[in-house]
């Protein structure tokens, strides 16, 4: 098949990687860009030059890689006990027991390891951001882009924990929040991290701080009503304007005028602050609707249906929402479960504590769910694999549990064709694990994001520090990296540069407690 075209396409893809994934590449690109006009082949030339430069410089870039001889859990199908994955550029080209190894491929032996798709944190409510909650209740004009702090240890931890895709959202403490962004946990700037900008909007049904439920709902309804009103008025004005231009008199009733004026509204007519609401109500922007309590669920569904974004909404649930499982089942929308998988409640009559395993209820009812982790919590619930393993512990099928941290969240983000499974054509977002993903003894050994190996456990300075022996500890060889100033850590070999770079920028010992997390 026409290899030339494919190569071209891949190179362009590579460029994308540079722009989004690896900042060195981006710098090369920028540096070389002045001469490179806007024609595609010109860009291609510079790209190839950039890749070449990077390769010579010993940088890890997207290339042809074969991961050979590992156990492959593709999520989408049967586990391959011993197989290989061919990656070219940012994409997976082939997955199978054997793959054809191209002459230029870098072969990485992963025998004894497990290959698993990069896990996806589908709803990062406020973490990775500097101050994630805005005081203004209705703020669809905001964008988390402006709050992302790539230097936070949070991203480094995410990478270490095998999370390749993060959906950064505004915190739950809002009425209508700003736009979210899907990012990789790697990169020096939000742009470099970005996979998909402005993906979805955040809406909270559970009251914002200082709001009660009535005010929350009233504010929410009013926001949509006012927007609809404004649009009607705008339509009418546009129609009248048109008549004026044509020197005609208004000859139709207002309703007709509005009808006719609607088509005359130009994009620039819509106030900036309402633009996202327009996209939302036209079903062009997905909404993540936060429901902290079961009582919020039907209200969320009604708001979504009334305003035209029901088909594109994802419900983010508090643990009590399992009580609304019937409503959720009927609605058929995907849900993101709370990190607290067990709902605890005091029986009002016996005073005994009742525990309910929420994913169990959802699974039984057939509701599509994704799992969340609780960032900031020590151990345990911090890990997506741990959350999935708890599901298996309580009797949910292994396949469903694995999907809940990979494929399902990818689909919820509308990125099911790029992430979540190991299949040809998907993005090469792959974890090399030391064992089964649901085994507590398993470590993430390598993370490959868009074809670039960005994390290597062997090069993980922080992890080394956490595993320091007393000799290292007191000798200060590896132990005191945190006490030194950034930039003095030892240079890393190729392949591990990303994590090295991250580590040098970490704030010493500062947990990722970056603002309130609802």
């Amino acid at each position: 098949m026409d290899g030339g075209r494919r190569d071209c396409a891949e190179s362009v893809e590579t460029w994308t990687v540079c722009r989004t994934g690896v900042e060195t590449m981006r710098r090369c690109t920028l540096w070389m860009k002045p001469g490179g006009g806007s024609r595609p082949w010109g860009r291609l030339f510079w790209m190839l030059a950039a890749i070449f430069t990077a390769a010579v410089g010993g940088r890890a870039v997207a290339q042809t890689i074969v991961l050979e001889g590992g156990r492959i859990i593709p999520v989408s199908g049967e586990t391959i006990k011993k197989g290989s994955i061919l990656i070219r550029g940012s994409k997976i080209l082939a997955v199978g027991k054997t793959v054809e190894v191209p002459f230029d491929a870098k072969v990485i032996d992963v025998s004894g390891k497990t290959l698993f798709p990069g896990m996806i944190d589908v709803h990062v409510a406020g973490l990775g951001l500097d101050r994630p909650n805005e005081n203004v209740p209705v703020a669809p004009f905001l964008n988390v882009y402006d709050a992302i702090d790539p230097s936070l240890l949070f991203f480094e931890d995410a990478l270490r924990d095998g999370i390749a895709v993060l959906h950064l959202m505004q915190g739950n403490d809002c009425v209508i929040g700003g736009l979210s962004r899907v990012v990789h946990p790697i990169g020096m700037t939000p742009d470099e991290m970005t996979i998909v900008p402005d993906l979805a909007i955040k809406i909270a049904i559970t009251p914002k701080t200082g709001f009660d439920r009535m005010l929350q709902m009233a504010t929410l309804r009013e926001a949509f009503l006012k927007f609809a009103d404004d649009m009607e008025r705008l339509a009418e004005e546009r129609y009248e304007e048109k008549l004026r231009d044509e020197k005609k008199d208004l000859d139709v009733p207002p309703a007709v005028a509005r009808e006719r004026g609607r088509a005359l509204i130009r994009d620039e007519d819509i106030p900036d602050k309402d633009r996202n609401l327009l996209l939302l109500t036209r079903g062009k922007l997905p909404a993540f609707i936060y429901c902290g309590r079961a009582m919020d669920v039907p209200r969320a569904i009604k708001i979504a249906k009334d305003n035209g974004f029901f088909e594109r909404c994802v419900l983010v649930l508090g643990s009590e929402c399992y009580k609304a499982v019937d409503v959720l089942k009927e609605a058929g929308r995907p849900v993101v479960l709370d990190a607290e998988l067990i709902h605890r409640e005091t029986d009002p009559i016996t005073g005994k504590e009742i525990e309910t395993f929420v994913p169990g209820v959802m699974d039984e009812a057939g509701v599509t769910f994704a799992l969340q982790r609780r960032s900031g919590t020590s151990l345990g619930e911090r890990y997506l694999w741990y959350q999935a393993a708890r599901c298996v512990r309580e009797g949910i099928s292994r396949a469903a549990a694995l999907e809940a941290i990979t494929l399902r969240p990818a689909q919820m983000l509308g990125l099911g064709d790029r992430f979540g499974t190991l299949e040809p054509g998907k993005d090469a977002s792959i974890l090399v694990l030391s064992g089964d993903p649901l085994d507590s003894q398993t470590w993430v050994e390598k993370v490959i994001i868009e074809g670039v190996p960005v994390y290597d456990k062997a090069e993980d300075i922080r992890l080394k520090k956490l595993f320091a022996t007393p000799e290292e500890e007191l000798g200060g060889a590896a132990g005191d990296a945190d006490e030194k100033s950034p930039g003095t850590s030892k240079p890393a070999a190729s392949g591990g540069q990303a994590s090295t770079r991250k580590t040098t920028t970490e704030k010493a010992e500062e947990p990722a407690g970056d603002g309130s997390h609802d």
Binding site: Y322, K323, V325, I342, E345, D347, I349, T350, G351, K352, E353, I354, E355, T356, F357, V358, P359, G360, V361, D363, E364, G376, T377, S378, L379, G380, E381, R382, W385, Y386, A389, R390, C391, V392, R393, E394, G395, I396, S397, R398, A400, L438, D439, S440, Q441, W443, K465, L466, F467, A468, T469, P470, E473, L474, E509, P511, A512, G513
Partner: protein
């Protein structure tokens, strides 16, 4: 006063406690209620029995009669009418022991006695709530015995207690008073919320708290010094602030004699070294609690044979650990470093219950380098030995109280849960058996046993299985 100083002596103590529960009417009241009522014979069958960390019986059975383990082996002769619980995929271990827990504490003000800095004469058992939810959650997680350690608000705190997390109410308390807890670190300073410099009214008990580590060590040293002076028959020179009250002195003297074990909570390296230094002055052996920085004092701990109750494991400190700055140099490797250096180490979840309780600590200790046997020892036999209850807890053997856990798979695997928990011969938790761990869809949380007297349909699924006497209400 000494009547209540429970002198340490293995089985004798257990027997002594049961006997000292005294008058018949009281005992009748204790046994006649709650879970103690019906304890029939139970046969546990499992794929594997960890009798103790070094003895594994493949495909074994355990016979429980009258609250005791009667037989352990490949096959036991079950009496007529015995309840058989068969978990071919399961494993049996002894109930886990947390040697440094805060379960049963209720309100915060209750924990600290602000009257004196040295309260070795007080007993934690007087204020912990044995019906507290924390115990239920611990039992549900497979932890059957805990040492409730005194609060860290006092330099020399109260006497802790060894209690069961469930089971017959007459056997809940294993040791009413065992050990005295001292704290060296920031917490006695920090928690003395009333601590302030004397203003008009001079020094009162409100201003008595040390506000530096120096002051803290002074209180510690002065307490034992006074106790020593009294023991020699003379009166200490000055008995002002920092001197122990008269009631506490006999207990301090018992610590000096070695009759009451001393436990010291210290986290930072400097505090651990201080603890070692000041106890050296008096020649008191002690057990180190919490010990976040223990990996930085391995040699000192090994030389002096100081056992460590390490935990909880974490990767970011929270709460007081975070605020105090005492736990910033946590290391994943500490448990294995300690064990490899030959330090006796037990694991503890301290204030964490539920999901983060002891099994998770063991799981992470394994993730961070321990073998399963080491981890098992660190949550069963080692803490039992440290609490001197090794003859009644910590391993599966004939003649011991039946404190057992049947796990759904290998213990401490993340996909394993405590399926059956037996405390004192009572089944306090029983989850329905699963046919297999994988491939079966939708059984999660459907272990609905129903609750008598409660409206049904209000909740849809339960996790904990049958438990406790309250179900009968």
């Amino acid at each position: 006063m000494f009547r209540r100083v429970i002198i340490v002596a293995g089985v004798a103590l257990w027997a002594a406690f049961c006997a000292s529960s005294a008058a018949a009417d009281v005992d009748a009241a204790r046994t006649g209620s709650g879970q103690g009522a019906d304890r029939g014979s139970i046969v546990l069958k499992a794929g594997k029995i960890y009798a103790d960390p070094s003895r594994i019986i493949e495909g074994g059975e355990v016979l429980i009669e009258d609250g005791k383990i009667v037989a352990v082996g490949k096959e036991v002769t079950a009496p007529e009418g015995a309840r058989v619980i068969d978990r071919p995929n399961g494993t049996v271990t002894a109930g886990l022991i947390d040697a440094n827990s805060t379960a049963g504490f209720t309100r915060r003000t209750d924990r600290a006695e602000h009257e004196f800095e040295c309260i070795a004469h007080l007993r934690v058992i007087d204020m912990i709530d044995l019906g507290h939810r924390a115990f239920e959650r611990l039992a549900s997680a497979g932890v059957t015995t805990v040492y409730v350690s005194a609060d860290s608000a006092s330099v020399i705190g109260a006497q802790g207690a060894v209690v069961q997390t469930g089971g017959p109410s007459d056997q809940r308390v294993v040791r009413e008073a065992y050990g005295v807890k001292a704290t060296i670190g920031r917490e006695p300073i920090y928690k003395g919320s009333r601590s302030r410099t004397p203003r008009r009214r001079g020094t009162t008990y409100l201003t008595r708290r040390p506000t530096t580590r120096m002051g803290l060590v002074w209180v510690f040293r002065k307490s034992f010094h006074d106790a020593q002076t009294f023991a020699r028959g003379s009166k200490p020179g000055s008995r002002g602030a920092g001197s122990p009250v008269d009631e506490a002195i006999p207990y301090l003297q018992a610590i000096l004699r070695g009759d009451i074990p001393l436990r010291i909570q210290a986290r930072a390296q400097l505090d651990i070294l201080t603890a070692i230094r000041v106890t050296d002055e008096f020649g008191i052996p002690f057990v180190l609690e919490d010990a976040t920085d223990a990996n930085r004092c391995v040699d000192e701990l090994r030389e002096r044979k100081i056992p460590v109750i390490f935990g909880p494991l974490f990767d970011y400190p929270s709460g007081l650990r975070r605020g105090g700055g005492e736990a910033n140099r946590y290391r994943y490797s500490t448990p294995s470093v300690l064990l490899n250096a030959g330090v006796t180490m037990a694991l503890s979840a301290n204030d964490l219950t539920g999901e983060a309780a002891l099994p998770q600590q063991a799981m992470y200790a394994m993730r961070f380098g321990l073998t399963r046997r080491q981890a098992l020892a660190a949550v069963t036999t080692t803490p039992a030995a440290l609490l001197e209850i090794q003859d009644i807890a910590g391993s599966v053997a004939e003649g011991r109280p039946a404190n057992l856990v049947v796990w759904s798979g290998e213990p401490f695997d993340v996909t394993t849960r405590a399926d059956v928990v037996v405390i004192g011969g009572c089944i306090v938790k029983e989850c329905p058996a699963r046919s297999s761990a994988a491939g079966k869809k939708g059984t999660g949380g459907s272990g609905d046993q129903g609750i008598e007297g409660a409206s049904d349909g209000w909740w849809k699924a339960r996790l904990r299985g049958v438990s406790g006497d309250l179900d009968r209400l």
